[in-house]
Amino acid sequence: MKRCFLLSVGFFLLLMLSYCGTARRGVPMFDPVDIENQAVAQGEKVYMSYCQKCHPGGEAGLGPAINNKPLPGAMIKFQVRNGLGMMPAFKEEVIPDEELDNMVAYLKTLRKAKEE
């Protein structure tokens, strides 16, 4: 039980610390996002259609930043499917499973972009 508690607190602290780092990614301040991978390229288009307006470039805007949160892919998908707070849910008929997988692949690639 103690181990679980420590793990959760550790994750929570990591999440809080992530708010201190910049969420900026991609050009011009970071390396371009590698969209050679077809799934990532398709995921970028999905992101542009559904996510960009509230999280422009994965940064904060109307909604919070995404790029600097160490969320695992499963958690991102859960949040997209179920919504959270003011964020609406995007069901399968809006973003099919494959497109959601690709969008998560894009987000992970974007998150890893290195500073130039």
Binding site: M48, S49, Q52, G61, L62, A65
Partner: protein, 489 residues
């Protein structure tokens, strides 16, 4: 381990859920804003490798657009009006080598002059019309001003914009809507125009049938008991009924129109159902695109969470205002402000199902002037560059971080949006917030006639306080020139 996995979502919920409601707004004009000076430092602007920026004119008051005459000389508009109810004389200025300014023409206090194009030996200017109604002006190189069309219905929230010349030789311009979402309300009183024009309201481009939904409000100085009931497309205090027909006419609100550059004939409708189609540009293939500022969370019919959009303009189409955003209908479920009811449709029938936007841009980003790259020397040929003025939070709605304040490029085939130029720093924000020497509020972009340089018109400092309180700062506008200095790797 199972317990920790159960705890993780709870912790995430704690951190992320409810954040939006409890966190304060943090727009680019909010907080500690430097208004007393504007240092200039191009190195504070992050650009792709191989590009550099320089300031070619400074000390401008509310600049909005640039154009080049037949000799390739740079000219700039000073708007003569800014949100915050600042009325000045609009001007067309020539930027001399070295950055000094020569006045070519001075207009009357009926700004903002929002856009300019040079065609067949004359400048064509869109006069916003906040005081007397919109106009399209022709200005000769020696400064003679001729009004080609007047009394355009843009004395409200949004103005007469454009103009651009199409391959057909016609002059295309646009008219923004009077209101946020079709209903005149207290927000329009705060903007200033409702007191000047108590009967002004939106005008449809063709006959529409209303649901008959009405909204109750009172104006700020009135006691709460003085309530007024107002319907869509109607003067403040005028209720509407189910099935009521509002007669359409041209010119109308939220539309792209075209006319002969020499004037003399009434304008024709190109498309409508926009909210504030500020930027107009033709692609190298001759297709018209417009940028459109999305709804705000204000007034009697607030709408939450709608982006700005880039549209490909098709003849005769209706693009969705006031009952759609980005192709999505107000179905009584979407776009509800926190703790409020979602907006309901106000039109009983819709002219057509609106198309999907080419690109979706940040909520409240105020995505404005456009231009297409036509040169390999600059790069990104065929992509459209978009200037983002940046949010006016909290008056337009709350944001968790500054939105906009940058120049984007958009691949119009894929809809993918990429940042091109923005201030250095942990976040993108205006220089007055970051306390550096970069961009404040890019409002338009224009490529040089040879296509090798991109000129960015930077409106200057604009502080935003509580509610609709807006404080633009004179003589802080800048024109930046961005050039590719090294070939691509």
């Amino acid at each position: 381990m199972k317990t920790s996995l159960r705890l993780l979502p709870l912790l995430l919920l704690f951190v992320l859920c409810g954040c939006y409601r409890i966190l304060p707004s943090n727009g680019g004009g909010q907080g500690s804003i430097r208004t007393e000076a504007r240092p200039i430092n191009p190195d504070d602007i992050a650009l792709p490798a191989g590009y550099s920026a320089e300031a070619v004119a400074t000390g401008l008051t509310f600049p909005t657009a640039v154009a080049f005459d037949e000799q390739g000389r740079l000219h700039v508009l000073e708007a003569g009006y800014s949100y915050g109810e600042v009325f000045l004389e609009p001007k067309l200025l020539r930027v001399e080598p070295g950055g000094s300014l020569t006045t070519v023409a001075t207009g009357i206090k009926n700004g903002p002059w929002t856009g300019v194009t040079f065609h067949n030996g004359n400048f064509y200017v869109a006069e916003g019309g906040e005081m007397l109604g919109g106009k399209i002006l022709r200005i000769s190189p020696d400064g003679n001003i001729t009004s080609l069309i007047e009394d355009l219905p843009t004395m409200g929230d949004h103005h007469t914009n454009g103009p651009v010349i199409g391959a057909d030789g016609m002059l295309y311009f646009s008219l923004g809507t009077a209101t946020n979402s079709g209903v005149v309300g207290p927000d329009n009183y705060d903007y200033g125009w409702l007191e000047r024009y108590p009967d002004f309201h939106d005008i449809p481009c063709q006959d529409i049938v209303l649901v008959g939904r009405n909204y109750t409000s009172n104006l700020p100085p009135e006691p709460k008991s003085e309530e007024h009931v107002t319907g869509a497309y109607s003067p403040y205090g005028a209720a509407t009924t189910p099935g009521q027909v509002i007669e359409g006419r041209i010119p109308c609100s939220g539309a792209v129109l075209r006319m002969l550059p020499e004037g003399g004939a009434p304008p024709e409708l190109v498309a409508w159902g926009f909210r504030n189609p500020f930027g107009l540009a033709f692609s190298p293939a001759g297709q018209l695109y417009v940028s459109d500022n999305g709804y705000d969370v204000r007034g009697s019919r607030p709408v939450w969470g709608t982006g700005d959009y880039l549209w490909e303009v098709e003849q005769g189409q209706w693009y969705g205002w006031p009952d759609y955003s980005g192709g999505l209908a107000f179905n009584g479920d979407r776009f509800a402000p926190p703790g409020e009811e979602p907006p309901q449709p106000i039109l009983a029938q819709h002219p057509n199902k609106p198309p999907k936007p080419v690109a979706t841009l940040g909520v409240h980003s105020s995505s404005n002037g456009l231009d297409f790259s036509r040169s390999d020397a600059f790069g990104f040929k065929g992509q459209v560059f978009v200037a983002q003025f940046g949010d006016l939070a909290p008056g337009v709605g709350k944001v968790l971080a500054p939105v906009g304040y940058k120049v984007l490029r958009v691949d119009v085939e894929s809809g993918v949006v990429t940042e091109f130029a923005a201030n250095e720093g942990k976040i993108v924000a205006p220089a007055s917030k970051l306390k550096n020497g970069g961009f404040e509020r890019p409002i338009s972009v224009k490529f040089s006639p040879d296509g090798e340089s991109l000129y960015v018109v930077d409106f200057g400092i604009m502080e935003t306080g509580e509610g609709e309180d807006i404080n633009p700062v004179v003589k802080t506008g800048v024109i930046w020139k961005i050039t590719k200095t090294k070939p691509s790797l």
